[in-house]
C-alpha cells in the first residue's frame, strides 16, 4: 500500500512539475527549452543526463539562474568561473543547490503531510462508505419491515372488517332473537290472557249455570244451629259494623306500630347508653394520655385540658338534653362522639408515628443499643464469673482444710494445688508399686542371667564334648580327604567353634533362638562377658518384647497424655508417668539404666 501511495505521489509530483513548466514556458521564448520540454516531461532522467553538455554550460547556467529567479532565489546567482563555462563558481552554486534542497525537503514534507491527510481522508471515506452501505441495508430492511407491517395491517383490517360484519350479523341475529322472544313473550302473555279470559268466562258460565239449575244437592244439613264461639249473637252487616271493623284494623295496626316503636325506642336508648359510655371512656382514656403526651409543650397541654373540659361539659349537657329533645341531643351526641373519635384517631396516629420514630431510631442506632445490651450482658457475666470464682475459692479452701487435717504438713506444703496433690498422691503410690516391681524384676533378671551363664557353661561343655566326639568319629571312620570335605557342612561349626568361639557362639545362638526359647539362655554375650547384659537386650532375646518399636510407640502416646496434665519438673514426673502403665514397665528399663 505504502509503495502504491508513494508512486502515486511521485506521479502527482510529475504532474505538478509539468504544470509549472507549462506555466513557465510562455514567459520564456526559448525554442530550445520548449523543444526539450516535452522529452523532459516524458522521461526526465534521460533528459537530465543530457541537460548540460560541455557545449552549453553557459546557457545552462543562465537557464538555471532564470529558473532560480523564477523560484525567488535571486540572491544566489550562479556564475561561471570561466567564460567558456567549464568551471563554476562553487559558492553560489552550492547555495543554490542548498536552497533547492531546502525547498525540495519542504515540499517533500508537505507532500508527506498531504499524503497522510489523504490517507486519513480515504480511511474516513471508507468508513463513511461502509456506514453508508450499512445504513442502506438498514433502510432496505426497515422498508421491507414496513411493507410487511403494512401487509399485516391490511390483513388485520380485513379481519376486523370481517369480524365487524360478523358482529353485525350476530347483533342482528341477537336482535332478531330478542324480537322473536319479545314477540313470543307478548304472544304468550296474550294467549295466556286470552285463555284466562276464556277460562274466566267459562267459570262465569258454569257458576251461572249452577245458579240457574238451582242445584238441589247444594245444601247444608245441620241438626241444630250452633252458638257462636264467642257466645255472642250474630249481627247484621251495617255501616256501623264496617266502621268498627276499620277502627279495629287501625287499632291493631296502631298497636303493632306502637309496639315496634317501643322496641325501637328501647333499642335506641340502649344504643345511646352504649354511646355515652363509650364517649365517657374515650374522654377518660384520652385526657390523661393527651396531657402526658403533650406535657412537654405547656401551651398545647393547656389547650388540650381546655378542650377536654369543654368536651366533658358538652357530654354532660348532651346527656342532660338527651331526654329533652331527641334531635338536638342526637346532633350533640354525634358531634361530640365524632370529635372524640377524631381525637382518638389522632392520638393513635401519633402513637403510630412515635412507634415508627422509635423504630427508625433503633435502626439508625443499631450499634449503640447492642453495645448497651452487650455491656449489660458483660456485666452480668462478670458477676457470674466472680461468683464462680468465689465458689471455687471456697471449695479450694474447704479442700485445703480437709487436706491439712488428713495429711502431714510437709506434703500439704508441697502440694498446694489440690488437683496435683491428688495426682501426685496417686503417682506416688504407683511409683512405690513400680519400685517393688522393679526390684522383683531385678531379682528375676539376676536369676535369669545366672541360669543363662550356667547354661552357657553347660553348652560349652556340651560342644566341646560333641567336638571331641566328632573328631574321634572322624578320625576313626574316614581317613580320606573326600569324605572329610563332604561332611564339612556338619563339621564347619565344630571346626569353627574351636577356632573362633565368639562368632560361632552367636551364630549358634541365632539358630537355636529360632528353634526354641529355652536354648536362648545360652546367650553368647552372657557366657562371654561375665558382666550383666542390658535389660532390653535380655528381654528381646527372651522374646518378651517381640516388636520393640510398637511398645515404644504406645509408651510415647502415654507420655503425651500425661504431659497434658502436668507442667513442672519433667524429669521426675516422667518417671512417675512411665510407671503408670504396665506396658511401659519393660521399656522403661533403659531410662532406669540411664538414671542409675
Amino acid at each position: 500500500m505504502g509503495e502504491w501511495w508513494t508512486t502515486e505521489a511521485s506521479m502527482e509530483n510529475c504532474e505538478i512539475s509539468s504544470i509549472s513548466h507549462v506555466t513557465m514556458s510562455p514567459s520564456r521564448q526559448n525554442n530550445f527549452v520548449s523543444s526539450y520540454l516535452f522529452p523532459l516531461a516524458k522521461s526526465s532522467y534521460s533528459v537530465i543526463s543530457a541537460f548540460c553538455t560541455e557545449d552549453n554550460v553557459l546557457q545552462c547556467i543562465s537557464y538555471i539562474n532564470q529558473e532560480l529567479a523564477s523560484l525567488g532565489l535571486c540572491s544566489t546567482y550562479i556564475e561561471a568561473t570561466s567564460p567558456e563555462g567549464t568551471g563554476l563558481n562553487a559558492v553560489p552554486a552550492l547555495n543554490a543547490i542548498y536552497e533547492l534542497l531546502q525547498i525540495h525537503r519542504r515540499t517533500m514534507s508537505t507532500v508527506e503531510a498531504l499524503e497522510k491527510e489523504q490517507l486519513k481522508k480515504s480511511s474516513t471515506m471508507e468508513l463513511m462508505q461502509t456506514s453508508n452501505t450499512r445504513l442502506k441495508d438498514q433502510l432496505e430492511l426497515s422498508i421491507r419491515e414496513k411493507s410487511g407491517l403494512h401487509e399485516m395491517e391490511r390483513q388485520l383490517q380485513l379481519k376486523i372488517k370481517t369480524l365487524q360484519s360478523c358482529l353485525k350479523t350476530e347483533k342482528d341475529e341477537v336482535q332478531k332473537l330478542q324480537s322473536i322472544i319479545a314477540s313470543r313473550a307478548s304472544q304468550y302473555s296474550h294467549d295466556a290472557k286470552r285463555k284466562e279470559r276464556e277460562a274466566a268466562k267459562l267459570k262465569e258460565r258454569l257458576s251461572q249455570l249452577l245458579v240457574d239449575r238451582k242445584d238441589k244437592k247444594l245444601a247444608i244439613d245441620v241438626l241444630n244451629c250452633l252458638g257462636r264461639s264467642d257466645g255472642k249473637r250474630g249481627h247484621w252487616k251495617t255501616a256501623k259494623a264496617t266502621a268498627s271493623h276499620e277502627g279495629e284494623m287501625y287499632k291493631s295496626l296502631l298497636s303493632d306500630y306502637e309496639a315496634s316503636q317501643k322496641s325501637l325506642m328501647l333499642e335506641n336508648a340502649e344504643l345511646k347508653k352504649v354511646l355515652q359510655q363509650m364517649k365517657k371512656e374515650m374522654i377518660h382514656i384520652l385526657s390523661p394520655c393527651s396531657s402526658s403526651g403533650r406535657g412537654a409543650t405547656a401551651d398545647d397541654s393547656q389547650e388540650q385540658h381546655h378542650d377536654s373540659d369543654g368536651e366533658e361539659k358538652m357530654g354532660d349537657t348532651s346527656r342532660e338534653t338527651l331526654d329533652q329533645s331527641c334531635e338536638h341531643a342526637r346532633e350533640q351526641l354525634t358531634n361530640s362522639i365524632r370529635q372524640q373519635w377524631r381525637k382518638l384517631r389522632n392520638h393513635v396516629e401519633k402513637l403510630d408515628s412515635q412507634v415508627s420514630q422509635v423504630q427508625n431510631q433503633l435502626e439508625s442506632n443499631k450499634e449503640m443499643i447492642p453495645l448497651e445490651t452487650h455491656e449489660d450482658e458483660m456485666e452480668r457475666m462478670r458477676c457470674e464469673v466472680q461468683q464462680c470464682k468465689e465458689f471455687i475459692h471456697a471449695q479450694q479452701q474447704l479442700l485445703q482444710q480437709q487436706l491439712n487435717t488428713s495429711f502431714d504438713d510437709e506434703t500439704a506444703a508441697l502440694l498446694n494445688d489440690c488437683y496435683t496433690l491428688e495426682e501426685k498422691e496417686r503417682l506416688k503410690e504407683e511409683w512405690k508399686l513400680f519400685e517393688e516391681q522393679k526390684r522383683n524384676f531385678e531379682r528375676e533378671r539376676k536369676n535369669f542371667t545366672e541360669a543363662a551363664i550356667r547354661l552357657g557353661r553347660e553348652k560349652k561343655a556340651f560342644e566341646e564334648d560333641r567336638a571331641s566326639w566328632l573328631k574321634n568319629q572322624f578320625l576313626n571312620m574316614t581317613p580320606f580327604t573326600d569324605r572329610r570335605r563332604c561332611s564339612s557342612s556338619d563339621g564347619h561349626s565344630a571346626l569353627s567353634v574351636r577356632s573362633e568361639p565368639e562368632i560361632r557362639m552367636s551364630s549358634v545362638k541365632a539358630q537355636l533362638a529360632k528353634s526354641s526359647t529355652y536354648t536362648t539362655f545360652s546367650t553368647p554375650r552372657s557366657s562371654q562377658s561375665g558382666a550383666v547384659p542390658s535389660t532390653p537386650e535380655l528381654y528381646r532375646t527372651l522374646r518378651l518384647i517381640p516388636e520393640s518399636s510398637s511398645s515404644r510407640h504406645s509408651n510415647r502416646g502415654l507420655w503425651q497424655e500425661c504431659s497434658t496434665i502436668e507442667d513442672g519438673d519433667n524429669q521426675v514426673k516422667a518417671k512417675h508417668r512411665g510407671r503408670c502403665s504396665d506396658l511401659s514397665i519393660f521399656s522403661m528399663g533403659e531410662d532406669e539404666n540411664s538414671l542409675s
Binding site: 295466556a192 290472557k193 284466562e196 279470559r197 274466566a200 267459570k203 258454569l206 257458576s207 249452577l210 242445584d215 238441589k216 244437592k217 247444594l218 245444601a219 247444608i220 244439613d221 245441620v222 241438626l223 241444630n224 244451629c225 250452633l226 252458638g227 257462636r228 264461639s229 264467642d230 250474630g234 249481627h235 252487616k237 259494623a241 264496617t242 271493623h245 276499620e246 279495629e248 284494623m249 287501625y250 291493631s252 295496626l253 303493632d256 309496639a259 315496634s260 325501637l264
Partner: protein, 452 residues
C-alpha cells in the same frame, strides 16, 4: 324414650286437637277420637265415604271430615256425639275444605277454583267468594284468627282481599304488583302480609294490613325465583328459599336482606356435621322391644339404640348432590322447606338437590350450626313447639332428633318394621306422632321431670 303401640290410619290423617287432649285418626271411612293420655277410644264416627281430609276446629269441639270425591263435608261434635252436620257442595265438586278460625264456619273451595263457599254452622247461612286464585297458598288466616287474606285473579291481574273473619266483611281489596301470584302469608303478629310471585320471577312483596305496599324485594332476575317463604315466630325475619339454593333473610324494619345462607355441596364451616352411617347391627332388634303389659307402652332403653347410628364428621364434608333434569318443570333444586324453631334461634332448611341433608342455621350468629346428612332422602322435619329440638324422618324405621346438644337416631321398636313417613309434634305434651304408611304410633320423650 317410650313408644306407644301401633294404630291403624289411612291417608296419613291423624291430628291432635288444638288443646292437646284428643287424637283424631281416620281409618277408611271411620273417624276415631282417642284420649291422648290413655289412648283409649272416646268416640267413633262413621262417615259416608273414605275420608280425604280431616281437621279440628280451633276450639277442639268439632271435627271436619271432607270427602272430596263426593263433594261432601261432615262435621262431628265431641260434646254431642248425636249432633251431625253434612254439607253437600253438589255437582260443582270440592277440592279443599277448611275451618274458619272461629270454628263456626267452613270454607269450601269448589272445583276449578270457581268460588269459595262459606258455610255458617250458626245460621246455616252460605256466602260465596268469587275468583279465588288457584295457587300454592292462596288463602291464609292471621294468627289471631281475625283476618283472612285471599289471593284472587280477575282480568288477568292479581288481587288480594282481606276479610274480617268475624262477619266476612271485605276489609281491603287491592291489586298486587305480581305477574302471577304464587302465595301469601301473614306475619305472626298479623300486621304484614308477604306475597310472592311465581317461580318465574323472584319477587316478594310486603303489604300492610291496610293494603299499603311496604316493600318489594327481589334478589335477582332472569332465573327461577322463590320456592318457599317462612316467617320467623317473632315476625322479625322473613326467610326466602329460592331456586338458586340460597336462603335470604329479610329484616322487618328496613325489609332488606341481612343474611344469605348458601347450601354448598362441600361443607367447610360449621360446628358439626352429623352423618348417618348404615351399620348392620350385630344383635337383631327383635329382642330389644319389651312390651309393658300394664301400660301398653313399648319402652326402650336409650343406650341400647342411640349411640351407634350417627357419627360426627370432620370438615370438609361432601354432601351428595343430585343434578336436576333441566327439561322438566319444577326442577328438584333449591330450598323447598324452611322452618324456624319456636324460640327463633334456629332455622332448618332443606335443599331439594341435596335431599338427604337438613341444614340447621343459627339465627343469632347468622351462621351454619349443623348439617344432618342422612342415608336417604329426608321426608319430613318439624321443630318441637316448645324446645329447640328438631325431629325428622327419612321413610325408614328410625326417628332422628337434633338439638343443640347433639343428634340421636332411634329405631322405632315395632314388629314388622314401622316406616316413618311423616311426623307431628304434640303441641305441649313432649311427644311425637309418627305416621307410617297405614299406621301410626306415639313417641314419648323423657321430660326433665321424669328424669328427676
Amino acid at each position: 324414650m317410650n313408644f306407644s303401640e301401633v294404630f291403624k290410619q289411612s291417608n296419613q290423617l291423624c291430628k291432635v286437637s288444638p288443646d292437646g287432649k284428643y287424637l283424631a285418626t281416620c281409618v277408611q271411612y271411620r273417624l276415631v277420637v282417642r284420649d291422648v293420655s290413655t289412648l283409649q277410644i272416646m268416640h267413633l264416627y262413621t262417615c259416608l265415604d273414605q275420608i280425604s281430609h280431616m281437621e279440628w276446629s280451633s276450639d277442639s269441639l268439632f271435627i271436619l271430615c271432607a270427602m272430596y270425591k263426593r263433594g261432601l263435608v261432615q262435621v262431628w261434635s265431641l260434646e254431642q256425639p248425636d249432633w251431625h252436620c253434612k254439607i253437600d257442595e253438589g255437582s260443582i265438586g270440592l277440592v279443599s275444605s277448611r275451618w274458619s278460625p272461629d270454628g263456626r264456619h267452613i270454607l269450601n273451595t269448589t272445583e276449578f277454583h270457581l268460588r269459595i263457599t262459606v258455610w255458617s254452622l250458626c245460621t246455616k247461612a252460605v256466602s260465596y267468594i268469587k275468583y279465588p286464585k288457584a295457587c300454592q297458598k292462596g288463602i291464609d288466616f292471621s294468627r289471631d284468627g281475625s283476618y283472612m287474606a285471599l289471593a284472587e285473579r280477575r282480568d288477568c291481574k292479581d288481587f288480594v282481599s282481606i276479610f274480617v273473619c268475624d262477619d266476612w266483611h271485605l276489609l281491603r281489596h287491592f291489586e298486587t304488583e305480581t305477574q302471577d301470584l304464587a302465595g301469601l302469608e301473614w306475619s305472626p303478629n298479623g300486621c304484614v302480609l308477604a306475597v310472592w310471585d311465581s317461580c318465574l320471577e323472584y319477587k316478594v312483596l310486603l303489604y300492610s294490613l291496610d293494603g299499603r305496599l311496604l316493600s318489594t324485594y327481589s334478589a335477582y332476575e332472569w332465573s327461577l325465583g322463590v320456592k318457599s317463604v317462612s316467617w320467623s315466630p317473632s315476625s322479625q325475619f322473613l326467610a326466602i328459599g329460592s331456586y338458586d339454593e340460597k336462603v335470604r333473610i329479610i329484616n322487618h324494619i328496613t325489609w332488606k336482606k341481612i343474611a344469605q345462607f348458601e347450601h354448598p355441596a362441600t361443607v367447610e364451616s360449621t360446628k358439626t356435621v352429623y352423618k348417618e352411617v348404615e351399620r348392620r347391627p350385630a344383635v337383631a332388634h327383635s329382642s330389644t322391644p319389651r312390651v309393658n303389659v300394664l301400660t301398653n307402652f313399648v319402652s326402650l332403653i336409650n343406650s341400647l339404640l342411640l349411640p351407634h347410628l350417627d357419627e360426627i364428621c370432620s370438615l370438609p364434608v361432601q354432601i351428595p348432590v343430585v343434578k336436576p333434569d333441566p327439561d322438566r318443570a319444577n326442577p328438584k333444586i333449591g330450598v323447598s322447606v324452611l322452618a324456624f324453631s319456636s324460640d327463633n334461634h334456629y332455622l332448618a332448611t332443606k335443599n331439594d338437590n341435596m335431599a338427604s341433608a337438613v341444614w340447621v342455621w343459627n339465627m343469632q350468629k347468622m351462621s351454619l350450626e349443623a348439617v344432618l346428612e342422612q342415608t336417604s332422602a329426608v321426608r319430613c322435619f318439624q321443630w318441637d313447639p316448645r324446645h329447640p329440638r328438631l325431629a325428622l324422618c327419612t321413610g325408614n324405621t328410625k326417628l332422628y332428633l337434633w338439638s343443640p346438644g347433639g343428634c340421636v337416631a332411634v329405631q322405632v321398636p315395632t314388629e314388622g318394621g314401622f316406616q316413618v313417613h311423616s311426623l307431628n309434634w304434640h303441641c305441649s305434651d313432649n311427644s311425637l306422632i309418627l305416621l307410617g304408611k297405614e299406621q301410626l304410633c306415639l313417641c314419648y320423650m323423657e321430660t326433665d321431670e321424669e328424669d328427676k
